[in-house]
């Protein structure tokens, strides 16, 4: 993979995949319930959700290994109904990698090219090119059983990329790797996608993976698509408690709705007082109460005499040290649940005694209203 910094590729407006009202039932079980999505050409798109949310089912239907019970899928303007997996312009990186164990690296990568009858020279060139893209140059003669987990992952990637698909599908491709390698591969995958410009669809249950790599993310729960947005928006403006909770830590505070209009909402809370905040697009009022959410890292400890226009006071009841950060649990009078606070250690948060009084500063923009 090239190591030069690449400019972010501007996203095209062309639609690559159009999923409309797709449902999939297995007997009485609805694996996917009325999913609609538009994925653009050259986009790195992630399907994120816990296991059983329907993300893999959707991916397998795009690949052609499964068919919708109702609804349609179109790839590059072409309806995919009745088109089997071997005639779709998609290629997949399987969770198990599915490296053919009786073939070596080169033969694995060339597997799909054999049918295209390119001629020996062109086929060689394409294989070499694909191996270079995934930094496996020189390992072509390695047997499938002589590869490490990371190398197997790269072979699976090369084998799919060499086909020059319109869409590359990745089914939890990094879940079998250890943490360090996984983080390294996240960067490499993103870089590779930017370099080749192919539409990538990634299925993952790891929110950090989705946040780190994607242009857009669809968060799924129980067979439904709950939110589709950029990583930043998903993280900062989750549409409901479920999404907020799934995407990392979140403090939830009970709130009473005082005023609600088109764009904003005013609530009263016991800890944070009266707060005016943007109303999320999917906000549906359920009686007079709502929930206010704030991420642990958006609460900061105020040292010594420092003050903030927006602060809450409380007492540290627990402290957990994580190396670069410290996790504090702070009890606030009036709040039924203590707040989680994530503080970097450069000012000595790791030395705050348990039981001491602290004041926490927050940005009111970091408070999001969530429908109950």
């Amino acid at each position: 993979m090239p190591d030069l910094p690449l400019p972010e590729r501007p996203l095209s407006d062309r639609t690559m995949i159009e999923i409309s009202h797709v449902s999939r039932s297995y007997g009485a079980f609805k694996a996917l319930d009325d999913a609609s999505l538009t994925i653009r050409e050259g986009e790195f798109f992630s399907l994120l959700g816990p296991s059983g949310c329907g993300k893999t089912t959707l991916l397998r239907m795009i690949a052609g290994f499964d068919n919708p019970t109702t609804g349609t899928i179109a790839i590059d303007g072409q309806p995919m109904e009745g088109i089997p997996a071997n005639r779709r312009p998609t290629n997949m990186v399987f969770q198990s990698y599915a490296i053919f164990p009786h073939l070596n690296v080169e033969q694995n990568v060339a597997y799909g090219l054999k049918r295209l009858k390119l001629g020996a020279t062109e086929e060689r060139r394409r294989v070499e090119e694909a191996l270079a893209q995934v930094s496996l140059t020189g390992l072509g003669k390695r047997g499938a059983n002589e590869l490490s987990g990371g190398q197997r992952q790269r072979v699976a990637l090369a084998r799919a990329l060499v086909m020059r698909p319109k869409v590359l599908l990745l089914d939890e491709p990094l879940s079998a790797l250890d943490k360090k390698l996984r983080e390294q591969m996240q960067v490499e995958l993103r870089r590779l996608q930017q370099a080749v410009g192919i539409t990538f669809i990634l299925v993952t249950h790891d929110q950090y993976e989705a946040l780190a790599m994607s242009d857009r993310i669809a968060v799924m729960f129980g067979g439904r698509i709950t939110q589709v947005a950029s990583p930043k928006e998903i993280y900062q403006r989750p549409v409901n408690r479920q999404v907020a909770d799934f995407l990392g830590g979140m403090n939830f505070v009970k709130a009473e709705i005082v005023e609600e209009n088109g764009a904003s909402i005013v609530v009263d809370t016991l800890g944070f007082g009266r707060v005016r905040t943007d109303k999320p697009p999917a906000f549906t009022r359920n009686g007079g109460s709502a929930t206010l959410g704030i991420r642990p890292e958006r609460l900061r400890v105020l040292w010594d005499d420092a003050t903030s226009k927006f602060e809450v006071a409380g007492r540290v009841v627990e402290r957990h040290y994580f190396g670069e950060i410290t996790h504090l649990i702070v009890e606030i009078p009036g709040l039924e649940k203590p707040l989680s606070v994530t503080e970097t250690n450069d000012f000595g948060a790791d030395d705050i005694p348990v039981g001491s009084a602290v004041r926490l500063a927050y940005d009111p923009d970091a408070l999001v209203a969530l429908a109950d």
Binding site: A85, F100, H102, Y111, G112, R115, L147, Q151
Partner: protein, 273 residues
């Protein structure tokens, strides 16, 4: 406790040695006496000769029996492996009620007394009005070969990652192409191994063949018939040695292939992960 351990560690190797000797000494006598010049199997040997081996091809009855055994063995191996493939694929690929029970029932002939099996089969064949022939022997041998065939094939098919076939389709290959380029090469060693094991078992089998054959003897039955004549003993020993070496070779090849098949299909981690 430590005393006991010390005693064990001293005597266990001796016990193991005696055990091996007891197990294999009779087998070693076979080739030794088969090269003795006199007909009676007694020490000391009177001289070395290969004439008993040279006589083997000149015995028409033996050639007939060998031919019969070959026919029976090949047919039984093919049939048992074919049925074994169906059963092993069903058992390793699908989850269905009674899977374990069916597996157990197929494996049962392995532990049933062979003579009971032979007598019951004889009764069934006669009830069905089948006249005894090499074909009935084949049926009997298929029954006792399937457990071996099934266990070899199951270990070859087990862990066959279904996504391999999907990956092949994903890369543009047709269903037949996938079978030819992925499925077959991966399970071929197990299938060949099953054929070899089944053939070997059929070749050496006596009781069922004895009950179910009509007038045409297989090799073990021929050998049994020859044992009544003391003068024929060296020929039997020579033939026995040939069979022994042949079976040993076939089973070794079969085991090597079975392990290769198992290694191919069970490759989730990678050797140097």
């Amino acid at each position: 406790m430590t005393m006991m351990n010390r005693m064990l560690s001293r005597w266990l190797p001796a016990y193991a040695f005696l055990y091996i000797v007891f197990l294999y000494l009779p087998v070693v006598f076979l080739p030794i006496f088969s090269v003795n010049t006199t007909a009676s199997p007694k020490f000391p040997l009177t001289g070395l000769t290969l004439k008993w081996y040279r006589d083997l091809p000149n015995t028409p009855a033996l050639i007939d029996a060998a031919w019969n055994s070959l026919m029976v063995g090949v047919s039984a191996a093919l049939l048992a492996t074919l049925l074994g493939i169906c059963a092993a694929r069903a058992i390793t690929r699908y989850r269905f009620p009674g899977r374990r029970a069916i597996n157990g029932l197929i494996m049962a002939p392995l532990v049933l007394p062979e003579i009971i099996l032979a007598v019951s089969m004889l009764l069934v064949m006669l009830q069905l009005g089948l006249s005894l022939s090499l074909i009935t022997v084949v049926f009997g041998h298929v029954l006792i070969c399937i457990p071996y065939s099934l266990s070899v094939l199951t270990s070859g098919f087990e862990g066959f990652d279904r996504s391999l076939e999907e990956a092949s389709a994903d890369l543009g290959e047709s269903a037949f192409g996938t079978f030819r380029r992925v499925t077959l090469p991966m399970v071929a060693p197990a299938i060949i191994s099953s054929l070899l094991v089944s053939f070997t078992i059929s070749l050496d089998e006596f009781i069922i063949a004895f009950f179910l054959t009509g007038t045409e003897p297989t090799l073990p039955i021929y050998i049994w018939g020859q044992l009544r004549f003391a003068s024929k003993l060296p020929g039997v020993l020579a033939l026995g040695t040939v069979l022994l070496v042949g079976s040993f070779l076939l089973l070794t090849i079969a085991e090597v292939l079975r392990r290769r098949a198992a290694r191919r299909t069970q490759n989730t981690g990678g050797a140097h992960a």
